[in-house]
Amino acid sequence: MAKYDIDVIARILLALLEGPAKRTSLYYRSRLSYPRFLQYLSFLEERGLVAERDGVVMLTERGMKAATELDRIFDEYLDF
């Protein structure tokens, strides 16, 4: 994937921060077309941020750290 959207990545990572989710549920929350969602999912898997097991997508340890940091940055700028 040549170009990625920060908003979409943040949406996926922050949605998974609330807990593991089924692929379909995550797809609905990502507000993407299904092929595009699969591109994002494989992109995040390649970078070791998410893992998929039995149709359930969850954050890896690295992904958990990244999502927590992302959440903190958003809070910093939104709670001003």
């Binding site: 990545i9 943040a10 941020l49 939104l78």
Partner: protein, 215 residues
Amino acid sequence: MKLFYLVFAFAAVALLAAALELAAQLHGAAPLRPMAAYIPARPQTAPQMVVLLNSTARVNSTWFVYRVYINGTSGYLYLPLDLRWLYGAPAVEAPAAGIGGAAGRPVEIPIAAVAAPAQPPAPAPRTVAAEALGAASGFLLALSAYSALCRGRACKAGRLRALLYASTSLLAGSAAAALAAGPPMLALGTPGAIGVYRYLAARRRLEAWLNTILT
């Protein structure tokens, strides 16, 4: 979200002020305009114009000159026709005795001013620009409300974007209000500028951080 609520409220106020001022201008009143800058238009009255027929003098074979009074001010009117033909008076080819002391009382013809065609005045470019900015501001405000209505962690990116929409809406609304009511209304846009700055700073930081994570 405190900044978002502040910016949203200011945007609504700026939009309301611009709308009120434009509506007041449309109906002839200007409540928000400073009184020092408001000069009421003088009532337009038809000019009183009187042509003294006996004061005519022939300039050449075609042109006549008449003595006229317009609102009490005298002057000379050059016309390529003899007005006496129009009013049934005999054409007298003795114009030399006219101007400056004709014998007897001069014949007066009051001429009613021709009313201007009743056309609505074209809107000023400032008004058109204010209306366009106000419409853009309203659209962005609705978009920011739609983006901010989402709840949960996954919507934080959307709420940050809503801050940008609300800030842009406030800037457009304050510009519209400034065009309609005067430059001091630009001060309303200060929280909008802060909001745009915060959004850009957050965006820069997120991009830098995600680049380190994703590469």
